[in-house]
């Protein structure tokens, strides 16, 4: 039964060509990965340890480095990781703005605290999805 379904799938893809392959690629989720799971917790920890009373720049750099490691590792692993890359991308943008601002002039404590709250929410969602994979 399963063999027949697989055969039917392969025939359908062969007939409809590359467009179908790309559609199927979009349906296939990435699977559990020890390194990604550990790194997304490193991201959460670096956000949890962010102290808005101290200098922001070096602390944000640590979050950014963890996210960059995650991105480069996932990119190197191949197309099936595109779903987790899409999850992490908005967080990279949030951190990039924070880093850019801290480079020129440190933002206010209230700005940092709200930013930390937003990043905490984002990293919770991301970790839940990444660690919840099959």
């Amino acid at each position: 039964m399963i063999k027949s379904l697989l055969l039917a799938g392969i025939v359908a893809i062969s007939v409809s060509g590359c467009a179908a392959v790309n559609t199927v690629k979009g349906w296939v989720p990435s699977f559990w990965d020890d390194n990604q799971s550990a790194r997304i917790i490193d991201v959460r920890q670096s956000i949890a340890q962010l102290d808005c009373q101290q200098e922001h720049l070096l602390q944000i750099k640590r979050i950014q480095d963890n996210l960059q490691w995650f991105e480069l590792y996932s990119e190197s692993k191949g197309w099936r990781q595109n779903d987790v890359r899409r999850i992490v991308s908005p967080m990279q943008e949030t951190v990039a703005d924070f880093y850019k601002r801290s480079q020129s002039q440190q933002g206010s404590v209230t700005y940092c605290e709200i930013k930390k709250k937003i990043l905490t929410t984002q990293s919770e969602y991301a970790a839940q999805a990444i660690l919840g994979r099959f």
């Binding site: 999850i87 991308s89 709200i114 930013k115 937003i118 929410t121 969602y125 919840g132």
Partner: protein, 77 residues
């Protein structure tokens, strides 16, 4: 706009309430002068980014559930 946000902050839908409360607290912080205009703009963008992230995360969780269900079914067959 503030009235709409206040209504959303108590509309009974947790996801909308949370976002509206955050937007209201941003607006308050700007009014008090605790954050600058550019910080306010950036933080509003971050709220939109959070929505994008949540949507992608939901998508992955749904696909994972589907794969899990298919795997269980294939073991039963």
């Amino acid at each position: 706009m503030t009235q709409e946000l206040q209504w959303l902050a108590a509309c009974g839908r947790p996801w909308a309430e949370q976002r509206a409360q955050t937007a209201l607290s941003l607006s308050d912080a700007r009014s008090r002068g605790d954050i600058s205009d550019s910080e306010y703009q950036e933080l509003l963008y971050d709220l939109v980014r959070t929505d994008r992230l949540e949507s992608e995360a939901d998508d992955l969780q749904t696909k994972t559930m589907l794969v899990n269900a298919i795997s269980v079914l294939s073991h039963l067959a």
